[in-house]
């Protein structure tokens, strides 16, 4: 299984790592049992993402997708931000191995949750609710990864 150079760049030099002390919205998704957890905090001004930070426990793809999604979302309007798809994230990174596609879901879900958190805090209607894969109890993050040559148990 091979990662693109861009994935490796974002993994080795992740952008926007950290927590915004006075965040307007925070989203956390994932589960340590599955090996990946992501937390995004955003600052919002007139419904645009002004600043953004992430923390991620996870594999190379989880960290790289987290990093790229913060770059993609910065400056976007909230509706734009929640409409970022896992495919856009993967494409932005020059592609992901099939077994890793689910990691980009982690990133987009984290962002969606942060946006909804901001809206709810301000007594507004959440706009991403229902589109968050990690809220679906039947969600199998690895479902895609299963006919991939990389999916092997080595020595």
């Amino acid at each position: 299984m091979l990662y693109s150079d861009k994935v490796m760049d974002h993994f080795n030099n992740p952008r926007n790592v950290g927590v915004l002390e006075d965040a307007d919205g925070v989203g956390e998704v994932g589960n340590p049992v599955c090996g990946d957890v992501m937390k995004i905090s955003i600052k919002v001004s007139d419904d645009h993402i002004e600043d953004i930070r992430f923390q991620t426990l996870g594999c190379g793809a989880a960290i790289a997708t987290s990093s790229i999604v913060t770059e993609m979302a910065r400056g976007m309007s909230l509706p734009e931000a929640v409409s970022i798809t896992k495919k856009q994230v993967a494409d932005e990174l020059g592609g992901l191995p099939p077994a890793k596609m689910h990691c980009s879901v982690l990133a987009t879900d984290g962002l969606k949750k942060a946006v909804d958190d901001y809206l709810v805090r301000h007594g507004r209607e959440p706009i991403a609710i229902g589109t968050i894969a990690h809220d679906d109890p039947d969600f199998d993050p690895h479902a895609q990864g299963h006919n991939d040559a990389s999916d092997v148990h080595g020595g």
Partner: protein, 396 residues
């Protein structure tokens, strides 16, 4: 400090020793005949093949060369042993026992047998990483045909009490196979002392080439071939034999045995240095398995609050090669079945690291690894949304 190429995954595969390469060369260039041909060129290849067989038989204490079958690797040997023996067991014995932490090369054919009219029991190891004799005694039944328990586990390196397990198995009239891919040449291995009926070996774990392995099959052990055809290997494994590979395997094995006693001491001290070094420089780490009976070359550790693939890739960026039991490294949903089988929680299993040293590992290599590893862990833990929450402190 400059990056340095430090390979610490000898349990995954090994380079081919120059002496092995030299030993194989003539079998590509001169003695390339088909060992099944009657003319001089064929007889020379046949003689070479049979000499390799004798050397291997000798090395593992087999009573006759014909108990050694050359295969394409450990996976074929494991498949052939399980499927071949179960196919020939009496109707009254349709039960198979394997340990829960076998390599997939054993677990998968076992699962296949389970779907094909046989019954399979998966024996869980203890938290210490060892199969307990009493558990095997309890699992054995009158209809148990075969027990397959690996000699040493390829992830956590714990060595199993094969002799005792084989005796218990025989007392119930069943046969015993052991997957010795990880122990051959690293621990003394004598089929008669261990009392096994079948054993699997792999060339690329002992500084031999990939694509060659061997199966020890005690004379008289019921067996149906996995590969059928021309009837080579005493009608037990068809296919034109990989003569160069067989020579390479025999050469590699003899080198391992000649160097075993000194090398196992040297490797054990490197391994222990890895364990102590990490314990001393990184907080919230532990050894995966506590059983003292361990391979000399494998250190297996749990680094809390980090994910294995991330560790692996960061170490790789520093030139260090290790492996991990995290789910992401295999692409499967679950982390290492081995770690789960010894009761290691999934969230910790994702942070497991296997460091396996070998013939070309120097003390400097280990020190380099111990230097570059802690900052990587610190960085990854700092990046984690959970670490501070779970362990109170900011990592250092």
């Amino acid at each position: 400090m400059d990056t340095r190429d430090v390979y610490l995954d000898y349990a995954a595969t090994t380079p081919v020793d120059e002496r092995v390469i030299d030993a194989m060369a003539p079998y590509f260039r001169e003695t390339w005949g088909n060992p099944n041909s009657l003319y001089r060129r064929g007889r020379e290849a046949y003689t070479a093949l049979e000499s390799a067989r004798e050397r291997v038989a000798e090395s593992i204490g087999a009573s006759r060369p014909s108990e050694i079958l050359f295969t394409s690797g450990g996976t074929e040997s494991d498949n052939a042993a399980l499927l071949g023996i179960m196919a020939r067991t009496p109707e009254s014995r349709r039960h198979l026992i394997v340990s829960a932490f076998e390599h997939h090369a054993v677990l998968e054919p076992a699962a296949y047998l389970g779907k094909s009219g046989y019954e399979v029991t998966y024996l869980a190891p203890g938290r210490d990483g060892q199969i307990c004799s009493d558990d095997l005694r309890a699992a054995l039944r009158d209809d148990t045909a075969l027990v397959s328990i690996m000699h040493a586990n390829n992830e956590i390196g714990t060595v199993q009490p094969v002799r005792a397990l084989a005796d218990i198995t025989h007392q119930r009239g069943a046969l015993f196979h052991t997957d010795a891919a990880q122990t051959l040449g690293k621990l003394p291995f004598d089929v008669s002392e261990l009392g096994v009926d079948a054993a699997s070996f792999s060339g690329h774990k002992i500084y031999g080439p990939k694509g060659i392995g061997a199966l020890y099959l005690k004379r008289g052990t019921p067996f149906a071939p996995l590969l059928r055809g021309g009837g080579q290997e005493f009608k037990k494994r068809s296919g034109t034999q990989n003569v160069a590979g067989a020579i390479g395997f025999a050469e590699a094995l003899e080198i391992m045995l000649a160097e075993l006693s000194e090398e196992s001491v040297r490797l054990a001290s490197l391994r222990d240095r890895v364990i102590k070094g990490i314990a001393g420089s990184i907080e919230n780490t532990s050894e995966s398995a506590t059983c003292p009976d361990r391979l000399p070359n494998i250190a297996h550790l749990i680094i809390s609050g980090v994910e294995g693939e991330a560790m692996l890739l960061q170490l790789d960026a520093k030139g260090v090669s290790i492996s991990t039991g995290s789910a992401c490294s295999s692409g499967s949903l679950e982390p290492s079945h081995v770690l789960l089988s010894i009761g290691c929680p999934a969230e910790l299993a994702h942070g497991s690291v296997r460091v396996s040293v070998g013939r070309f590992t120097s003390a400097e290599d280990v020190e380099y690894f111990l230097e570059v590893f802690p900052p990587i862990i610190e960085r990854l833990r700092a990046m984690s949304p959970l670490y501070e929450r779970m362990y109170g402190s900011t990592p250092h």
